[in-house]
Symmetry: C2
Amino acid sequence: MKLAWYLSAGVIATFCSIGSINCGNILVWHTEGSHWINLKPVLDTLIDRGHRVTVLVHNASLYMDPKEKSSFSYELFNVSISFEEMSAWFEDWINFYLYEIHDLNQLQIHWKEYNFLKKDSEVSLQICDGLLKSETIMRKLKEAKYDVLLSDPLFLGSELVADILGIPLVYSLRFSIAHMWERLCGQMPSPPSFVPGVMVQLTDKMSFTERLRNVLFYVSQDMMAVYGYWQEIDAYYSKIRGKPSTYCEMLGQADMWLIRTYWDFDYPRPFLPNFKFVGGIHCKPPKALPEEMEEFVQSSGDDGIVVFTLGSMVKALPKEKENMIASALGQIPQKVLWRFSGKKPDTLAPNTRVYDWIPQNDLLGHPKIRAFITHGGTNGIYEAIYHGVPMVGIPLFGDQPDNMVHMKAKGAAVVMDFHSMKTQDLVDGLNAVINDTSFKENAMRLSRIHHDRPISPKDEAVFWVEFTMRHKGAKHLRVQAHELTWYQYHSLDVFAFLLGVVLFCTLLFVKLSLLCVQRCCYGGKSKQE
Amino acid sequence: MKLAWYLSAGVIATFCSIGSINCGNILVWHTEGSHWINLKPVLDTLIDRGHRVTVLVHNASLYMDPKEKSSFSYELFNVSISFEEMSAWFEDWINFYLYEIHDLNQLQIHWKEYNFLKKDSEVSLQICDGLLKSETIMRKLKEAKYDVLLSDPLFLGSELVADILGIPLVYSLRFSIAHMWERLCGQMPSPPSFVPGVMVQLTDKMSFTERLRNVLFYVSQDMMAVYGYWQEIDAYYSKIRGKPSTYCEMLGQADMWLIRTYWDFDYPRPFLPNFKFVGGIHCKPPKALPEEMEEFVQSSGDDGIVVFTLGSMVKALPKEKENMIASALGQIPQKVLWRFSGKKPDTLAPNTRVYDWIPQNDLLGHPKIRAFITHGGTNGIYEAIYHGVPMVGIPLFGDQPDNMVHMKAKGAAVVMDFHSMKTQDLVDGLNAVINDTSFKENAMRLSRIHHDRPISPKDEAVFWVEFTMRHKGAKHLRVQAHELTWYQYHSLDVFAFLLGVVLFCTLLFVKLSLLCVQRCCYGGKSKQE
């Protein structure tokens, strides 16, 4: 960070003197799961730099625990949905992808997914309502005079609260489906010819039919949102603000978008000055393993180890899948560490040990690591990129299949289909990424790109949060496109005008020519007559 | 710079160990004037970091002197144009804007400018030819095994030489007219609805007629280039490469574009991952003034000083302009330091001193500075932004009028028309920027934006040059748009196909409906008959 430099240069009024306390006052929107994992290191650094951080959390949160010891304070609010309802809804979602999806056709899957998105909006609004209707907490938030609101827009409502509190808004975002928020609301240009929408499972190198699929994906997702599940949000936002408002317009008010990818993972694409790519915030060098685990790892000899996890969201797999996977793992010479809850599979081989929890980053950074079997969550993929580890992907839901398409396209992974894969597929996949050196080389190439940037992703994220506080927003980075209608943006009115002029001139020319011909021929004739 | 960090982390193979010599081998393309001023600090830093830098220079160069003592070595080549011819052509260009332009109409001005651009291409190709036809130097360049070629694409040919030598290419660019190179060749999206073309003298907030003007400006400049003065370059490049090649396609091969502006000066706009905005590279804190000059500056008391320069290119003004300006300067209470060559104007007042050369940056950074009268060159504007000094612009040619539109739009300058301005206009302009505090406040706001970035522009430029060497290019930042035709880029083939499908379905539906109607009605009728 260059903060020390411009402090000493004395040219600008700085917001925060490092070392002093209470210099910035940061409000953080509630979030969940892997999104929370990603935000935490930024908050810790902000606190280390002397800022005060308050995190909003509701009483039905699945992953955030306000009783947990931490350096930031929590502001708890009550919501009308219960913890049990939240858990049940979440489990429904997981079970759909683990058990039900392979019995449905594409149309049924899309319909179910649309309903999940609709339900997600409803739950989010219920949570938002809990906060906005609590006069005590809203008064407390107003009195605290926060300098910025930091949020993941996946958990909606932060844009409304930032507006009510009259403070700048910084987003930390992994993605929206088909880049809808970034594209439609943030005005980030995304030509469908080389920017595949997130979740469409395409790369930036598309054939004609793939480009066609991408265009249809953009259009269908936009239609479903704008004319579907966004409408309820629009109505809610309008009601709260007391004037016609749209969700998209409010999203577009964000000062800064910290996107949690980088060009190691993402395909190069156009973006805007208030979009910063800070993928890999949570990655760090490995620490030593617990003694027992280190012994097991060392026992692998030259063959090394394989680490296997399907993330913190999936607690159990269908029994026959567990056995199939366990028996595949038994067929490779490596030792395997499997993050696994529940009863051990019957087919578990001696080379495989299961653990309730594993120090994933420390294992991926261990010299004996050979491959990582992953569900394809962005956090896990980023740890593999950071340490240069080739992957076998078994994606389940959400962005996971699309994430693994990225890694496969960059030559650092092979991908399995969870529902159709057989024992031999997994054995072959593992042998490929371990023995074909191109996978390791490509993973190392991504790792070099990841590390070789002018400023670390965490420092960059912290810098732009502080920047937004220092300058009370970042409006000078906001493109004028926000003030244009869609037809003005694409200059359609200008082209229509030019077309009109051309048509008018052509018509005039034709008319005048006809008139001339008439005068010359018929005029002459009538004279002759 | 984070170099120390990733060196210590040992994760990536680094290109250059700081402290050792001969670690990178950098070739620099010949350049001129203010472009050279901007490149030099980057080269000095690269040398300080242990790289070897060789600068190509030709024997007719107006501003580069291979005999000058410097830390980099020069490689001199001969060209068929003489120094005198170069000087004469350059003076023609200056004199056109100083003396002739106000007697011509817009069409005549455009025609003259087109011919200047055409002549510029011809001279550039002549220079390029001098290098390429020198077998000795080309052999020397090949044998030297350079790691990167660094160039300002305004001086064409570097893309051809990088291709011949098979080495990566990094551009350092201020602008191309209407962003032509960046847009058409670099694939940087530039919607004309909010990205005004460079030199059109519009801001990013455009009315309908201004957007119309911007579209016509884009189109006319593109046509003049693609179907005009680029054709000769295309033919030359094809001849040298021995296969059909276009200038634009070769420009698009550049690995990295270091753009010499930033969001303090430029309007926010979409860009790509291999475009880095490093405006203000040459700016630095002020040094102490020469004793005599400091005395004069101090004698200004609370009124302070005004610094006036029209840049290094303009040696003399029309006599009546000089006198008009001198008499205006005499009417303000500030002391004025005027960079001026030639005989002192008759109307020079006691508060004004003329100097053959002034330490511009040190004066702009002096506590007594109140305003800067400038021709609007980017280097001078950036020094004013760096030090937060409001400006009075007297733009003459090139990008200067457009640059001053930027500063006026951002509230940090007033702008004069060189040809029509009167004494009182200049007095009023100066009094406005000195006494109306909003100009100073806006200049300070731009200064804060300028200084408040995660990495200094010079460090960022050096980082990306070294990055390109370390990774032997930066292809992972290159968008796939380069591989698409213009109609594929805009998905026109996809939309045409979809339109076709819709038309076909509609036609089929109409046909089938007609058939049904026919069957039902006429079929029935015939039965009845």
